[in-house]
């Protein structure tokens, strides 16, 4: 996914959840050049990772416009913070931490805006507000979540239905690991959660999906 060129719409995922990445020497060289102010080298890093950054932001914000803004802002912030990047470490988990933070901040801001708008509307109309009490955005209905929207076609219907049965937290971990093909550390970085939390949510998510699929009559063949 990381090497997918701009503009692609369907990208291959790995055959299984990928192991944690090790730093690619060519990537390390690009980071070093960018750290010394070489914008072209940083441009190469953007090209390498823009698909992953955009899609993670899309999963978190459920909006292509917000995802583009969040990913762009994250790349600029990453460039400005390159002095704090640990030399020799893989770049993508670090970048996805920044993308995840940026996307969540935008989601919170959107929640506050919507809450304000709702309260204003309610004051005008005298009706009840739709906003949550803590200013966070209302949870999107599962049917509207971006992880489900990317699964199109008849063959995806079963997976889409089983994913819809998951809670938001579990669905996001499953989406990061399998639909986006992120490693465990990248999943933790993107979602801002500890490894233990990611493992337990993934385990629960897969188990619930299995139950949903079996209840729907889907035959799950044992691994060869």
């Amino acid at each position: 996914m990381a090497d997918e060129p701009s503009g692609g719409s369907s990208a291959p995922a790995p055959d299984a959840p990928v192991p944690d990445r090790v730093a690619d020497p060519s990537e390390t060289a690009l980071v070093e050049r960018a750290r010394h102010g070489d914008a072209t080298a940083f441009g190469e890093l953007v090209t390498m990772h823009q698909a992953a950054a955009f899609r993670v932001a899309y999963v978190l914000t459920a909006s292509t416009a917000e995802a583009e803004d969040a990913a762009q802002e994250a790349f600029v912030k990453a460039y400005l913070a390159l002095d704090r990047f640990r030399a020799g470490a893989p770049f993508r988990p670090w970048l996805l931490t920044i993308v995840g933070n940026e996307a969540r901040n935008r989601l919170r801001a959107r929640g506050r805006r919507e809450g304000l708008a709702d309260r204003a509307l309610a004051a005008i109309r005298g009706g009840a507000t739709r906003a949550t009490t803590d200013g966070s955005p209302r949870p999107a209905a599962a049917a509207d979540s971006p992880e489900l929207e990317v699964l199109v076609g008849e063959t995806q219907a079963e997976v889409r239905a089983a994913l819809r049965d998951l809670g938001d937290d579990e669905r996001r971990v499953v989406a990061c690991r399998y639909l986006l093909g992120l490693s465990e550390s990248e999943t933790c970085a993107a979602l801002g959660i500890p490894a233990g939390t990611a493992k337990s949510r993934l385990h629960r998510g897969l188990r619930r999906m299995r139950e949903s699929l079996e209840a729907a009559g889907v035959t799950l063949e044992a691994a060869p």
Binding site: E4, S6, G7, A16, L80, V150, R210, A222
Partner: protein, 271 residues
Amino acid sequence: MTGPGVSDAMAIDAAVERLLVTAGREAVWPATPDLRTSVLARIEAPEAPDLRPGVLTRIDGAPPRRGPAMRALRPLAIAAILVILVAGLAAGLGFSLPGLDLGRTAQTPAATTSPLDLGSPIPVADALAVDRPRVLLPAALPPPDDAYDLGVDDRRIVSLAWTAAPGDPVLDGTDTFLTLMAVPGTTEEPLISKSAGPNVRIEPIDVNGDPGWWITGAPHEIMVLRPDGDIGVLRAAVVGDTLVFSRGGTLYRLESALGKEATLEIARSLR
């Protein structure tokens, strides 16, 4: 204490994984915008000459000058930072303790009568000889009847179990009234993950000055994250009343059929 089929439930279903991997391959994501152009336009813009790595340092390279007022405020600033750090740590930990990831979930776990698989049986004397995690014995009880271990080296989990007398309360699916699990405790990598549904109460408790939680009200889910260092969940179960607390780098987990007061008394007698 080792229930048949419990380990089976821990295995990630390969068929579901295969379906998801295929779904990932066929997923149709929105087109990725050309971020390279927009990002380079921003970091190379002539009106933003200070946009470069390490921009937070002063442009002239000189150390920042501090006036007398700043020097006087420095101790206060350090104290404030310390307060914020401690508050932040507490907020970050939430319900959790070193070695334990404890969180809320909106969903109630499916009922099961399979007890938590505590690992391989070992002689009680061997369990008590383990240094890390440090295994303590409750003075309020006779010696344990069984001992188990799971994992290796500094990721080893040791458990003790007490068999109930006829007629005494027991943990679901077992003949024991109490299990005591000792888990290496770090905040970086918990080995135990618990999910509490809406009907579970989590009450703060104090075990001779050590912080902990009494988890009760409805069964909750426990997962033992692979203590061999591999990624994944090794064991999971739905369990009942549990007391967890942290002492000296070890997380102690007491699953009990005896109620809060008796369990707390047992915990306070650990030596």
